[in-house]
Point group: D2
Chain length 150, copies 4
């Protein structure tokens, strides 16, 4: 059974806007918080100091079902839905007392940092794929990773 | 010919992250900046003081093609792709010297603010639809607005 | 003995900047997080829904001694240093493994929200002052609150 | 006559909070925007790629006199108030139609980035001091820069 990472979080004042609710841009940050907690749970850091690889986002999407307000507590659940040779995809659900608040997806790519400061697509290191395996929805996706077509 | 709203913008220091590039959450704020500029260009404010309607986001998505760095200038172009009785959809492209940086979509819904602080789906006021018409990709979408199924 | 409120917090990725450290603007948000946690600890919310008073900041300052980096854990300690009829002042220290990271101050004022949307200076409600008393450095400051000269 | 850098800016939706006004943390970002514009006006970038020096903030303070709301336009004026061998201090005023909104100060230090990722206090390069001279309140402060005692 694939594991998901669950996080409880309280809405901070600076996350709200004049409409009285959490600004939609924050949900993407909530997803990232959960993603990085998942990596820590897997014994990894997504950005160790002096690493020569990086993990830029290639796509992010979110649907908003209900509003969140100042000081409310809510849950974030994230799991890995796909791993290819060069990308990782996540699905995320934010909820409050079991009620769905928002659902989102995130896709990141592995890149190598070149000496001139630019980035180049790279294969996911084997040890990273190994450690993330328990969180993958389809572990086969990691063992038999398909080549990327993009 | 539908009009689009174009905005030139410079990357601020606080928009960057430790990976050395603009944090992905900012692209959703860039889209919103362009959306609100489009409303102003149409003679509207998306959040006038003491208004009893509001425009929460129901969906947002973005694909990231290239990175943006501190102090770089870039362009945001936004246009309306669909208008239903209760929602407005936008398409957005961020580019730099003609090179695509990111492409995104945004869908907002019209809501009425109830006395108890909650929100309820509402029809888009006719004068708002009228003023946004010149920016709609398919103006017919506004004249003959389809009922919402969601 | 006045109590302080202590909070342990981890640096999030979106709080860092291209210099590789937490952007200085975040320290003011860290202070606010601790302030609101102190209010909750005192049985209060600084922004209850439908309240007719508010607590805008009148001054904020911070000195930065050391940098914080992605994923590092640190502590925030906040206490009330002064309470007048209309204002509350806090002192805050952010530290990591006992080493001082930053020290700051925050001063907020009580205001009444007028029907036209503007704000007017107001006296701190007695029950709020009562509940905050245990966190005040000089409890006398609350009992014998001096008139404000500004 | 020392020059100041003036910037006109519009309040963005994501800069507001549930109290209906610009969140106080944003004023520190407004100051930084003006600071970096001043450096560009002086022919400099405060963070060129691949530079081995940096400019962390050592202190920041702001007093808030009036609130700013969504879509309002306001002005930021910044000037250099002091330059020592290792630090630069700024004074900043944010105003709207001539009315003072907020006044702040910012002090930054020059640091050298060490190979291990840490930072070490460094002297301000002569060409940087030269280029900033026209913006210094007391140009003598640059020509006859006092040694730092901290």
């Amino acid at each position: 059974m694939p594991r998901e990472l669950r996080l409880r979080r309280r809405v901070q004042f600076y996350e709200t806007d004049v409409a009285g609710i959490v600004h939609f841009s924050w949900f993407f940050r909530y997803m990232e918080e959960a993603e990085h907690a998942l990596w820590r749970e897997a014994g990894l850091s997504i950005h160790p100091e002096r690493s020569d690889i990086g993990w830029p986002r290639v796509a992010a999407a979110c649907e908003f079902h209900r509003a969140l307000k100042f000081e409310q507590e809510f849950d974030i659940a994230i799991r890995i839905t796909d791993v290819t040779k060069r990308t990782i995809s996540y699905a995320c659900e934010m909820s409050q007392d079991g009620q769905k608040i928002a659902t989102g997806t995130l896709k990141i790519a592995c890149v190598a940092k070149l000496p001139d400061g630019s980035m180049k697509s790279a294969e996911i290191p084997a040890d990273v794929a190994d450690r993330l395996k328990p969180f993958a929805y389809r572990p086969s996706a990691i063992e038999d990773r398909s080549p990327d077509t993009a």
